[in-house]
Symmetry: C2
Subunit: 423 residues, 2 copies
Amino acid sequence: MKKRLYNARILSMKENEEIYFGEVHTDGNRISYIGKANGAPAGQSFNEEIDCEGNVLMPGFKNAHTHSGMTAFRSLADDLNLQDWLNNEIFPREAKMSGEDCYHLTKLAILEYLTSGVTAIEDMYLTPETIADACIEMGMRCELVSGLNKFGPTLDVLEERYNKLNGKHPLIGFKMGLHAEYTCDRELLENTAKLIAKYKAPMYVHMSETKTEVDGCIERYGKTPVALFDELGLFDYGGVIYHGVWTTPEDRAILKKRGVMVVSNPASNAKLASGIAPITDYIKEGIPVGLGTDGPSSNNCLDMFREMFLVSALGKIKEMDPLAVPATEVLKMATVNGSKSLEHKDTDVLDTGKLADIIMIDLHQPNMQPVLNIPNNIVYSGSKTNIKMTMIDGNILYYNGEFKNVDVDEIYSKTEEIMNRLK
Amino acid sequence: MKKRLYNARILSMKENEEIYFGEVHTDGNRISYIGKANGAPAGQSFNEEIDCEGNVLMPGFKNAHTHSGMTAFRSLADDLNLQDWLNNEIFPREAKMSGEDCYHLTKLAILEYLTSGVTAIEDMYLTPETIADACIEMGMRCELVSGLNKFGPTLDVLEERYNKLNGKHPLIGFKMGLHAEYTCDRELLENTAKLIAKYKAPMYVHMSETKTEVDGCIERYGKTPVALFDELGLFDYGGVIYHGVWTTPEDRAILKKRGVMVVSNPASNAKLASGIAPITDYIKEGIPVGLGTDGPSSNNCLDMFREMFLVSALGKIKEMDPLAVPATEVLKMATVNGSKSLEHKDTDVLDTGKLADIIMIDLHQPNMQPVLNIPNNIVYSGSKTNIKMTMIDGNILYYNGEFKNVDVDEIYSKTEEIMNRLK
């Protein structure tokens, strides 16, 4: 399938490239041409041609931290602190959730990602196999992340999944990860470090999300979670910490040295009153920051526009400086840095040969008018109403408010049924 | 025109009334029946019947503080502090803006309000006469608020507008207001107090928005802006302060005593790094809080869903308490308290005899599924994509993504032209 998207404003996200009028051609799942209309190869034929009407084409947003299957718990247990919410509301219900439940609940989340321009997710949840099935069926790109802890499957399962799920399908990958320091014991951390070393794999983990968590770790081990993981060799091959709200300067020096990046989840951190991450420090110190929605039970929606506005607005509040975390930096977090976190080299920017994970931003909406500064419009005024198209791997999955080849009502009724069983 | 909206979930916002399945009838601009289907008067005929498909009908959101005409400055001067932004970027451009410019720019803002379920605005901007024209033409309910200061029109003009614009049209009212303490001198404040007394009118004013503003007032007068206005008699008939980020306990005692309420603008306060308002204190102390977007140059969008999430999320962060500012309180701010600020007694809740300012919330979207707790879904997960209908004064102005009887492209091109002239 060859597609031509013409009459577009192109925001490639390539460093130092300005927005220009042009077109994008796709051939299968790759971009075969991107540039001005008059530079395009002549005499081509396409299966589909779309007039973008001056709207913006840009790389899709990467939701670099989520727990998709938690859609069943949306609005079920709001207004609680993280530990109460997790121990009293979430863990007991998750114990009753099957792999098939997780499959259906993930499908609901994917619908929401598509409305928000998300073209790839980094998903840490219970049953990676059925999450993979939901993603493959619906065409979503996904890195599954192990959330191993002392209550669940063992390290053998993690290793088996790592070998089985990496290579299962072009849309799917699997990362080694732990749920968090406070849900693992020392033995599990040490054994995970051996596995990390065996595969030279980066580590993905919830870390420094709340002050309680950091204080508890210091009580248990005499050091912060970042310092502990570093000492145990868990960051020897880099990785990603989710949240990173309560890192110290010493922690950040470790992250920088080990090539560990941060994925920030500002809506979840605010709603659970966990705190505001030191984004300005990360930027200053050269530690890349990606963005995630976290799960739909703590956020409660899966909307990258909310995260983009919030990471900037909360950053400005934290520093009491309106210049902090500017829009251009935020767009980079939601696209290029997300790809870095996913280790997807070919989805970061729009360029010839890159994967065709492309979204179209509708400028013909009142919140995008007048068209003076498009990056600022997207970050400060943008909303899901502006997502006109979401294309993943060359396939248009959402266009003009319609999902392609999906029985939406069946997904809704299935998740309602599961919610009623688990609530 | 009689309309019937049936098969709906009704969220009336009447105190202690649960959500129920039922229908709403309108006759002209009023609600003639609201209740269960089997209680409706028999043998009626309607001009229009709408199947709500189980979606929610509720009172429209009230945007209780905005400067609609600033749409020309969206994304023009971001990432600045309030004083730089106002003095160097906004005031010089506003000096070049005509009444006709303001009319067109307000029309663009009204389109955006309709997409966000806003059925009434409290608008402080340059030329109230032409703002009124835009609102009447497009069917928006509006209280115009004087933004008098020492640089603009005199008190005579204010009094003339007060008498001329109140009563001009059922959709329009006019409030006495001042821009802010720091843009007025003592003489103007004292003379305004006399006019307030003459008409027994409440006072509307930007107040305690930034720490700089409060510190400056203490330097000039030896007291906070709230204490100063109280001493001068400007709060003798109640009123509204916009922002109220930096109020002291003594300030709040004055507000409570004088029946002055607060309209909070969390997105603007965050983006300009002004601070986080003490919403929990206002709630505890019985001072009603309404919500506003502020103008599209400081926010930069006019989206009540963003404000609803933020007032709660920032409140939780400020108190480091996830129980702070719960969803039910937020919904009240956006509806009932907004009406109180506007002094619109008949738009606060859905009830027989009330004005038909009604919105329909689309639950058939992934971000509203599953349907477990509707108020929490709206506040924590809601987005403009969920506004299926906006009805003002019995007229459906926005339905299924379409504006009724509006040439959208003409409004866009007009505002683009003005923006290019002023930028």
